[in-house]
């Protein structure tokens, strides 16, 4: 046990280790942030195409979206990452961070689309009918009635997806990227501390703290969106 505390002291008193950890953490955050952004943007588009009323203009887009989500959700993330690295963006000099962002962004979009689609479909059809019966346009009905109610259903699941992406980015160490996970492995290796337990423990704390903060923010947003529910008044 003494050894454990000595190792902690060693890690935190060696600027190179701290720097490596922060460096790795920064990469984890960068990939996650932009991947989630792409995921939400693309996911929203896919979801909207999916829930839109069928028309001849949407036959092909709807088909593409369904094939896309099926493939993404039906194959391992690690394999998708490999395909991006070793097949699609295999040419020299292409920044690996961009490849990783695209890989995770495209993956997250498929899941986010399902979350948003589910959120929109869970809004009672009577709400739309009320708008129609009052002579409102589809646009007004969507933005004033359906979307605000859907968001309440979407936020908790979207928070989950964000957390999943952050944790999943740890697999970029498999293609040699220096993220938080890789930093822990590097610091613990033979050339450095020659003990994995402390750096990996500290890396875990970094992930935990990040996810804790995100959970907190999501809960806050959920609460503020609930003002029209009875639950909030109770």
């Amino acid at each position: 046990m003494n050894n454990f505390f000595e190792k902690i002291a060693e890690l935190f008193s060696t600027p190179a280790y701290i720097e490596s950890l922060l460096h790795g953490f920064l990469l984890t955050i960068q990939i996650s942030y932009f991947a989630i952004l792409i995921g939400i943007l693309l996911g929203t588009i896919i979801a909207l195409i999916d829930v839109a009323k069928p028309s001849k203009w949407l036959v092909i887009p709807k088909f593409i979206c369904s094939v896309y989500t099926t493939i993404i959700r039906g194959t391992p993330m690690a394999l998708q990452l490999f395909i991006m690295f070793f097949v699609i963006f295999a040419f020299k000099g292409f920044p690996s961070i961009i490849t990783a962002i695209i890989a995770f962004g495209l993956n997250s979009a498929a899941y986010t689309a399902e979350v948003i689609r589910g959120g929109i479909l869970s809004v009672d059809s009577g709400q739309t009918e009320a708008g129609l019966a009052l002579g409102l346009s589809q646009r007004t009905i969507f933005f004033k009635i359906v979307a605000p109610q859907a968001i309440k259903n979407i936020i908790p699941a979207l928070g989950n997806e964000i957390i999943t992406v952050i944790k999943e980015t740890a697999i970029v160490s498999m293609v040699g990227m220096y993220d938080l996970n890789m930093a822990a492995k590097d610091i613990g290796s033979g050339q450095n501390m020659a003990s994995y337990i402390v750096p990996m423990f500290v890396a875990a704390l970094f992930y935990l703290a990040t996810i804790y903060i995100i959970t907190f923010i999501v809960k806050r947003i959920e609460k503020s969106l609930r003002k029209s529910d009875l639950r909030a008044e109770a």
Partner: protein, 244 residues
């Protein structure tokens, strides 16, 4: 504009859901000031008929004219302003306060200015005894309160016809009376009304005409007196025997 005294004409209205033919050629006329109650066994198509009138369900074929104008996909939005609808499950917009529910359509359709719409909404709320609920969300209202707000929401647009789709079916007995007396009051003021209901005594009391639908067709219509006391068709006789 010639036949101003006829509000609504329905010609050979048919509606199918896939292979299921729900309406099989309905012909119907509604004149200004009439109060038509639509009766029929469950699954007869009476709610579908009502919902086809303002295109909540798009008719499969047939024509509907409001004041001589054929309802089409192009003009339906405008026509709906004159075809107010009250639903079984109220359908108040849950992310909006009572006041926002009332003023949404008049403001979005640019029919009233904000202060004008809010003043009118407040008058109507006072009228139904709920001025204190203006800033409440629907979730905090009782069923009867929700339905009364839904009725005045439809009235905000001054429709020519009010369509009621089983307005009391989701309410407790006490609330039913509150809602019925509000409908009664609209009737007394000359509002043109179509109503699908299972409240037979209310139907008898309020209707100027009863329409009986079975298997997607109107099989008998007449005054409440004729309908309830001297039913002509065996189907209606059987129906009345079961319920009275």
């Amino acid at each position: 504009m010639e036949n101003k005294d006829t509000d609504l004409i329905v010609k050979n209205l048919r509606k199918s859901f896939g292979k299921n033919k729900v309406l099989n050629g309905i012909n119907f006329e509604l004149k200004e000031g009439e109060r038509v109650v639509i009766l029929g066994p469950s699954g007869s198509g009476k709610s579908t008929f009502l919902r086809c009138i303002n295109w909540m369900e798009v008719p499969t074929s047939g024509e509907i004219y409001l004041d001589g104008v054929l309802i089409t996909e192009k003009n339906i939005r405008k026509m709906r302003r004159n075809l107010g609808m009250v639903f079984q499950h109220f359908n108040l917009i849950s992310n909006m306060t009572v006041m926002e529910n009332l003023t949404l359509a008049p403001l979005k359709l640019k029919l009233m200015k904000r202060d004008e719409a809010e003043k009118r909404a407040m008058e109507l709320l006072k009228h139904i005894g709920l001025p204190g609920k203006a800033n409440a969300y629907p979730a905090s209202l009782s069923g009867g309160q929700k339905q009364r707000v839904a009725i005045i929401r439809a009235m905000m647009l001054n429709p020519e016809v009010l369509l009621f789709d089983e307005p009391t079916s989701a309410l407790d007995p006490e609330s039913i009376e509150d809602v019925l007396s509000l409908i009664r009051e609209l009737a007394d003021r000359g509002m043109t009304i179509m109503i699908v209901t299972h409240e037979m005594s209310f139907a008898k009391e309020i209707a100027t005409r009863i329409v009986f639908i079975d298997k997607g067709r109107i099989i008998e219509e007449g005054t409440p007196e004729e309908f309830f006391s001297h039913p002509k068709t065996p189907r209606v006789q059987e129906f009345l025997k079961k319920i009275l």
